[in-house]
Symmetry: C2
Subunit: 469 residues, 2 copies
């Protein structure tokens, strides 16, 4: 339930993709393979785009994740593309270092997100990387700039041509993982709380999925305003972490009725409710608003039940979809807002303003993305599963770093950063996780270990997959 | 279409009213009549409330407007009440000087406003006056304080017992008329623009009925924010006035499609739309919002068509009532809010905060209520008509000043304040107005002249009654 949201802006990636798969280009030399993924990647032998390209561009290859059809985790495949993406005026070529996973990517995989074009297509709404080339008319980016990128899709690959206006300079001291974790979650949380929500001191906010990407961002942003009370839902194993992160009242939605819990503490209700769930939870949220309260709905996570599209869950969500009459709003003095960054195409100025404020807060140490785990491109299925099964605390990240050979043999990878991770603990964790998921096990592919996890040393209980409410 | 809104808080007036009409009280001496309205008032000989009252309280009388049943302008009658209202703890007794008319009063008269108890009942949501007595536990008001009052109803009378927390001190230099014009319109406009609307520099706002009470307040408040563009609808005869008041683009809704006019200037749409109309206009407003735009609906003026309840207009309004699904809000990145001060009972703190800011702006000369006209209690029918037929520019006010005998003989009253009004011009105006309203003429009562009008010297064209859209 983390990262229910999506990025903005569009088009470029489509063009780029077409660029890499021309059917009628003259044959070129068989490409050399840079950073070849060998075993794991399915080397899709697409002919190189050759139009007006120098010989080295013709032989340029890069790895890309491609959604090949709607369905389960295995529908996203790693392929090798050929031909350097051509830059249009205003664009830059980014060598991607890390990518963020978002809830909309999970929806998209099931065919539930209309901002992603039909497969085959490269998903991915945010990434970080280094500018490798700049197109004409680009004045504010140069080769070597470290940037984070927000795009409608197309960023889960090693190189991406994107409008320079969709890039933001990475501030000093921010890692590529953090930079890939920031745009979608923080812009979403920021615009919901400070534009629609108009959050002010002494107010109260309900953050569902407080351990998810948006949830953590929203909690941190709430704490930048004086005396804001944050109610956060999460399974109890995550309560310590979210409380440390700023949640005032952590609520276990699996064992308690969150409406009752909120009413016990705040009988009049709440000022702002962020609702990523949809369906009947939106009704509950509306009734839980104070006068002048704002309900901001930004997803339909309740639609996601299981790895593949669950028609019953989708139908149920539609059936329970919240609809409101203006006279009811008037009599309640309430506000209902919808937000999705994926539909904010072209609102470059709004997004830049939000990003600028967020980066200022980062520099002041007031917000900081929390990385749950980082996975290789080959592990995208497991990364998606971790997020969809709500086992993450914070952001799930993909890295474009090549996967070492030894890790491909089902060994846990070298935990190469931060404090040393205890492999034994991790193995135990994974054993439990696997035990808890027997039903899903049959369509499991080879289980890969995450590259590194920013977990605490103490063993965290794994939580069962969230029940659809 | 002005003043679509209503006041907050409640109860007291009911108690007070019951206090003045006890059926089983011991008979007392026939009351002396203070400021007796004689001719115009229908002296309702209600026995005085005598419980625990000193003899002078038993003989205390005051004039009150009473809604005697739902219907036309003649349903509000002037009566004489007997017995000084008893004060409960926390209440003050206010000697009322002036009262504001609001759109909700017009709705209430037709039985379309559920915040007014059933007739017989004294309407009136706002007034100004002087504190004449303070109840127990009142620490922040004293006898002699000049105050404005906001109450759910019950203020259209010479004295009113109200909670001290519903009163606000009148700042230096503000007249009783201005003070009676301020609370409902300015709090409504303020909370819509700055709480739900989150108005910021460079944004664009559509203000319907820009010459009405809320419209003028909203325009003035918009101008306190840098570079806000105000689109204001009004009939063309009012354009000069509203443009002087701050409207950037005045639109004659009777001759032009306001949606088209807005799109010509602001093709992407608007940031904030204040919608007092309801029905199909709410749909238009929704479609006219920019991404991140806020539609704030605060009335159903389209329901009012004619003096008495028009079932077709009501049904049409219900039929066209706007209803919205959350998925549509999400895909549009839009917000729909409902506001009505009349349903904000008990939100004393919110209201006090808003009032405090508004009074600061008043002291800085940034906002100032515009009085359209002031009428005697006896003239309440004509005052309501002026407002309902959209012939006002600014606020319509009732004064409790006794009506001089000569004015009761259908003579225009002495224009006793501000620049001298040209009676000849006014007579011409009234002639025109009457010509334009022949159909309604049959249920006209004796036509009274307004006490004074703050009109400019140049003759204003009267506009025909707004057509229901």
């Amino acid at each position: 339930m983390s990262g229910e949201d999506a990025p903005a802006q569009q088009q470029n990636a489509v063009d780029q993709k077409q660029e890499t798969k021309p059917a009628d280009e003259p044959k070129s030399e068989p490409p050399k393979t840079e950073s070849a993924p060998a075993g794991a990647a399915e080397a899709a032998a697409t002919p190189a785009a050759a139009t007006e390209k120098a010989p080295e561009e013709e032989t340029f290859t890069y790895r890309a994740l491609v959604l090949t059809g709607y369905g389960g985790y295995d529908k996203v495949k790693l392929q090798v593309k050929k031909g350097k993406p051509a830059l249009k005026a205003g664009e830059v070529l980014v060598r991607v270092k890390a990518c963020g996973l978002n809830f909309a990517d999970l929806m998209a995989r099931q065919g539930l997100y209309d901002r992603l074009p039909s497969p085959p297509v490269t998903p991915g709404m945010e990434c970080s990387g280094v500018v490798e080339a700049v197109g004409e008319e680009v004045t504010d980016r140069k080769v070597g700039d470290k940037v984070m990128v927000l795009n409608r899709f197309g960023l889960w690959q090693e190189v991406a041509a994107v409008p320079a206006s969709h890039t933001f300079l990475i501030p000093e001291g921010m890692s590529f993982e953090e930079a890939a974790a920031l745009p979608v979650n923080y812009i979403t949380a920021y615009m919901m709380l400070f534009d629609f929500g108009n959050l002010r001191p002494n107010q109260s906010v309900l953050v569902h999925a407080a351990a998810g990407g948006v949830g953590i961002a929203a909690t941190q942003l709430c704490k930048t305003v004086k005396d804001v009370t944050v109610f956060g839902t999460a399974s109890s194993s995550k309560h310590e972490t979210i409380s440390e992160g700023g949640v005032t009242h952590a609520i276990d939605y699996r064992t308690k009725d969150y409406v009752e819990e909120v009413r016990k503490i705040s009988p009049k209700g709440l000022d702002i409710i962020l609702d990523p769930l949809g369906g009947s939870d939106t009704h509950k949220a509306y009734n839980l608003l104070k006068p002048m309260g704002k309900l901001i709905t930004y997803g339909a996570a309740n639609m996601l039940a299981g790895q593949k599209k669950n028609l019953i869950a989708v139908a149920k969500n539609w059936y329970h979809q919240f609809s409101i009459h203006t006279l009811s709003l008037i009599q309640g003095n309430k506000s209902v807002c919808g937000f999705h960054l994926g539909y904010l195409d072209g609102e470059t100025e709004l997004i830049s303003q939000a990003m600028s404020t967020i980066l200022d807060l980062y520099k002041q140490g007031k917000v900081k993305p929390r990385i749950d785990s980082t996975w290789h491109l080959e592990q995208v299925g497991d990364a998606m599963r971790k997020m969809q099964e709500r086992n993450n605390i914070g952001k799930v990240i993909l890295t474009t770093e090549p996967m070492p050979e030894e890790e491909k043999k089902e060994e846990p990878k070298k935990e190469d950063k931060k404090e040393d991770k205890k492999k034994e603990d991790k193995k135990k964790d994974d054993k439990k996780k696997d035990d808890g998921k027997k039903e899903e096990k049959k369509d499991d592919k080879k289980k890969e270990e995450p590259k590194k996890e920013e977990k605490k040393e103490e063993e965290k209980k794994e939580e069962p997959k969230k029940e659809e409410k």
